[in-house]
């Protein structure tokens, strides 16, 4: 009896491992091994050809002494702060409008979501042409007697131009997520608030926002992680320039990898991982505290 039960348990375990084996192989090959290797390389001087030379924490120290990395870090933080202030706010506004019973609602929903379905590289290429000194944006400004500007060629405006494009592209995703969440808030709560004399603003603050809390956490966690990893639009629109004004952490990482500084590039990856893990933990903690 005992022997039979033991054999059954072993059989179940074998079946279980066999079922998860494909996922384990993929995770090991494409996640665990690269992560472990990358952690080791970040502590070495390594170009991918010759054997790695152990340098300890030198790559990490050197990063924070490199003005280009410091600039990339500050640019990325600016991108995250502005992008995550404007993007979700606009997304929520759009969702609130789209949640109303307006004529052509389906069209507006489709229109606002359309940029999300378009390749970021395509979007960035089109915006690069629009924002060119001879582009449509300046031509339109000219109709109103306003002087055009070389938005992407001027170091003082290039990063903001990239942020505008990124917010525009991501707006539809945020709007759709918020819209789904808005529709899950029970109408009875709004009706009760109305009976209690709450005006539209108080209904928004006391009913809508609490109802959106898990969605807000989702949007901010996903958004902040995505924003810290900004690369495609920078690569297409500005190549990190002019004068490092749009250099970001991931662009810097790719640049170091391109120069075959695999040790330094791996250190950048781990700095980014640390930043994102810390920020995500803080966000979860904050939202947990407010929920309890």
């Amino acid at each position: 009896m005992t022997s039979f039960a033991g054999r059954a348990r072993v059989r179940r375990a074998v079946t279980g491992y066999a079922l998860i084996a494909p996922a384990m192989i993929a995770t090991t090959a494409f996640l665990l091994i690269p992560m472990v290797l990358s952690a080791y390389w970040s502590l070495t001087d390594y170009n991918g050809i010759t054997a790695p030379t152990w340098v300890g924490l030198h790559n990490y120290v050197a990063l924070f002494h490199d003005p280009r990395f410091v600039r990339a870090l500050t640019n990325t933080i600016t991108f995250v702060l502005l992008g995550m202030s404007i993007g979700p706010a606009l997304g929520l506004c759009a969702a609130l409008l789209l949640n109303e019973h307006v004529r052509g609602r389906g069209f507006y929903r489709t229109a606002i979501f359309l940029p999300v379905t378009t390749s970021l590289v395509v979007v960035a290429t089109v915006w690069k042409m629009l924002l060119n000194e001879q582009g449509i944006v300046n031509t339109v400004l000219g109709f109103f007697g306003l002087h055009g500007h070389a938005w992407l060629a001027d170091p003082s405006t290039a990063l903001y131009a990239v942020i505008v494009v990124s917010v525009w592209q991501g707006l539809g995703f945020e709007a759709v997520v918020f819209l789904a969440a808005l529709q899950s808030i029970p109408q009875a709560l709004y009706d009760s608030a109305r009976v209690d004399g709450a005006n539209a603003w108080r209904r928004f603050v006391h009913v809508t926002l609490p109802g959106l809390r898990p969605t807000l956490l989702f949007v901010f966690v996903i958004g902040i992680i995505g924003s810290f990893q900004v690369f495609d639009q920078v690569f297409v629109m500005t190549q990190g320039g002019p004068v490092e004004s749009t250099n970001t952490i991931v662009f810097y990482l790719v640049d170091r990898f391109q120069a075959l500084e695999l040790g330094r590039a791996s250190a950048v990856a781990y700095v980014l991982l640390l930043i994102l893990a810390t920020l995500s933990a803080i966000q979860f903690r904050l939202f947990e505290e407010r929920s309890t």
Binding site: A21, N132, D154
Partner: protein
């Protein structure tokens, strides 16, 4: 007990899976069976080419295959913009090409990283049966050599001359400038401005190291000191060179051509008449002909106007074999084939660029009058420019130095900093990069 055994089993499974996956990875050592150690090349030859649709390499493959029918050739066209990423991934993951076209400005970083095969050793100093030294100009040989060893073989060269709209010069009675002062005067005569702003017929001002180096060398300056340990481009020669570049923008005779304008060739500005003069290399001849055929007969080429002496950066395309190439025998055979005089002429014939070997440069095909340039034969001018051109310094941190200079030049040209301050900032970054390399 049972639980700990299960955990142990899981751990062992992961380790075994990891070992299995790792063992499936490619090896970076050359495959013994891929080529014979000497003589006839066999196996597979992988070629990565950034020349684009006008490549001289793809047509050469058919002829090479006839000579070596036993060889399988895996040809891949790779976009210039993303070539470095692909190349870096290839060599660091043990899956490099056997032959790659590399921009000569990328060579210093890769050579200093030890990524490029020693072609002196591989060739025994001979190219197609003749000494390599006799087949290139001294400037090209210097550009191809790192620490006494050849690391690439130049396929085409790049040295700058002045392209100008000869029809407008004639129409406005402007003499072809020979000095910086004459150049500024010519730009003023040529430009059509409105409210101090250029409307058309300007000089293209590019905020990059290539064009700053051109002015710097002409003004008697250098990028780094003799032993490549310190920046010297922020000396008086460099500051004057940068201020001179900016003067075209200040007096409304220059077109600032930043990266947002698209490609650096400036074709958009050439076609809409904003650009009537620019400094660039011989490869632009082919681009002009294919992209602006309507301007045939309107352009001419002259030696770049100088301040103190002739000078240009020396670049081009290098045919390169990575140190971990799988089939170096076939790779070297193919490189030699591409550098035979008949194949070298393909560089001009297909890409419209300037072949790098001396035999090809003196071919009658290159010296015959070109209708696009009003019956002029511009190659001689580029050949003269090459004679006084200087390759970029061979330092591992060259990409960082290049970025620092480009940033400084951009900053000064946009008026964000004075020329001196911009170059001082760039020099500081350069010095730290050189110290930390």
């Amino acid at each position: 007990m049972s639980r700990s055994r299960t955990v142990l089993a899981a751990a062992v499974t992961i380790v075994l899976l990891a070992a299995l996956v790792a063992s499936c990875g490619g090896s970076s050592t050359p495959s013994a069976s891929s080529s014979a150690s000497a003589g006839q090349p066999t196996g597979t030859l992988t070629v990565w080419d950034y020349y684009g649709s006008a490549t001289p390499i793809k047509p050469a493959i058919k002829a090479f295959k006839k000579l070596h029918p036993q060889l399988t050739i895996n040809y891949q066209a790779v976009d210039w913009d993303t070539f470095r990423q692909k190349f870096s991934v290839g060599v660091s993951s043990g899956a490099p090409p056997d032959v790659a076209t590399l921009d000569m400005t990328w060579i210093p970083t890769y050579a200093a990283q030890g990524v490029l095969a020693d072609l002196t050793k591989m060739s025994g100093g001979q190219l197609n049966g003749k000494p390599i030294q006799s087949q290139y100009t001294p400037g090209s040989l210097k550009a191809m050599t790192y620490q006494g060893h050849l690391v690439t073989m130049m396929s085409d060269f790049d040295a700058y001359a002045l392209y100008y709209r000869a029809d407008l010069f004639k129409q406005k009675g402007v003499a072809v400038p020979k000095t910086w002062d004459e150049f500024s005067a010519a730009a003023r005569q040529l430009a059509v401005t409105s409210g101090g702003k250029l409307e058309k017929y300007g000089f293209q001002v590019l905020p990059d190291t290539f064009h700053f180096a051109q002015m710097l060398y002409q003004n008697g300056g250098a990028i780094l000191n003799g032993d490549n340990t310190k920046a010297v481009f922020n000396g008086s020669e460099g500051v004057a060179a940068l201020a001179y570049m900016k003067s075209f923008l200040d007096d409304g005779t220059g077109v600032y051509w930043g990266p947002d304008q698209g490609d650096s060739s400036g074709i958009a500005g050439i076609k809409d008449q904003r650009i009537a003069m620019f400094l660039n290399g011989p490869y632009l001849m082919g681009i002009l002909k294919s992209s602006a055929p309507e301007q045939s007969g309107k352009w001419a080429v002259a030696p770049a106007p100088i301040s103190k002496q002739p000078g240009s950066y020396l670049g081009g395309t290098g045919l390169t074999i990575p140190v971990n190439a799988k089939n170096p025998t076939a790779a070297w055979a193919f490189v030699q084939f591409l550098l035979t005089p008949s194949q070298q002429l393909g560089v001009y014939k297909y890409a419209g660029a300037a072949p790098a070997t001396i035999a090809a440069l003196h071919s009658p095909l290159l010296t015959k009058p070109d209708p696009y340039f009003g019956g002029q034969a511009p190659f001689g001018i580029f050949l003269d420019a090459m004679a006084t051109a200087t390759p970029y310094p061979y330092v591992q941190a060259w990409d960082k130095v290049d970025t620092a200079i480009s940033d400084g030049v951009t900053s000064a040209l946009l008026g964000k900093q004075s020329s001196q301050d911009a170059l001082n900032t760039a020099a500081q970054t350069t010095d730290s990069a050189l110290a930390g390399q």
